[in-house]
Symmetry: C2
Subunit: 196 residues, 2 copies
């Protein structure tokens, strides 16, 4: 079946929910979606989540900018999502691959975030080695927080955290093993963060 | 390496965030965690998420009960999480496998939910066939909503939706392919649901 063949496409996608824990959640979500420059990615919002697609650099740049913008409201915000690349069932549509490589959102404001991630390298018999290697990378980058069931804790300044996520997403897939999934759950401005 | 061997354990886990979009989010979360009977699962909450572990029947029962309890507040709530079984890196700890099989939460109140799910059968070269088969199952069960990039939409009454999720989680793994991951993003009481 043609649909089962592994794609050669460089399209990266991120399907996520941005959940502000406030009565004014609509204003926070709309504010983030409107004020971030999303012109380098294809974007679609439905009744459950939002998906962005495009070059990897822009997908990570827009994801970080949305989180950072929502964080600036001071509200407790959760960002939950899945980064995907190389899915055999993926289509070439909605890709925006003709955009220049320059990131469009460059706000460097510092913001503490605590998050958890899991890597799922698909159809790769050696996938546990990939996961252990990338957890080591988090420790080397100074963003590792703690081990836990099913995930690894990653925290620090939002820019360091997203730099790690983009780096690990690059290195956990290969020409031979193209289909990679990475889940990220991020907590911002949480009363549980103990004043960090 | 012993840690890379595939486990024989029947432990199922669910790591999730419950995000009420209200200023009173702490009360909604604590209310759900306190009033649901979670005695049949091991549970731990950190600064980002909560994880429950135990027999499959109890993990799905508690997940549904938490969502339903939060839904009854009338607040817009998002439930995002990952069900896991058979991870080679998993431990035998925190399993609660000696509990009886009877579900402890049996509230049958109807509640519309809209959700999206993705299956990740690990280290299975035929994984795309598993995914296509389970999407067909959703259509047969009457809970399929729509196709989309990286996910499939599942909606309907919360009891039908969770029945489908538990059934598909059972069938998407096998003795040969034990490690299965399923992400679920669920939206409840959303203004985007158009009065459903």
């Amino acid at each position: 079946m043609e649909e089962l063949q592994c794609g050669m496409s460089p399209i990266v996608g991120f399907r996520f929910t941005l959940n502000p824990m406030t009565d004014d959640f609509v204003a926070v979500i709309k504010g983030a979606l409107e004020e971030v420059d999303t012109s380098a990615v294809w974007m679609h919002t439905d009744d459950v989540s939002t998906v962005i697609r495009g070059k990897q650099v822009h997908v990570f740049n827009v994801a970080k900018a949305l989180a950072l913008h929502a964080a600036k409201t001071g509200v407790h915000v959760a960002l939950n999502g899945t980064f995907s690349a190389g899915c055999p069932g993926d289509t070439a549509g909605d890709a925006y691959l003709d955009k220049p490589d320059e990131p469009l959102n460059n706000d460097k404001t510092k913001q503490y975030v605590s998050s958890q991630f899991a890597l799922y390298p698909m159809n790769n018999p050696d996938y546990m080695s990939v996961i252990y290697r990338e957890v080591e990378r988090a420790k080397e980058r100074g963003v590792f927080n703690e081990s836990m069931h099913y995930s690894s804790g990653i925290h620090g300044d939002i820019h360091d955290v997203f730099d790690f996520y983009e780096e690990t997403f690059t290195h956990a897939r290969s020409e031979e093993h193209r289909h990679l999934v990475m889940t990220v759950s991020m907590s911002i401005n949480s009363p549980s963060h103990g004043g960090k």
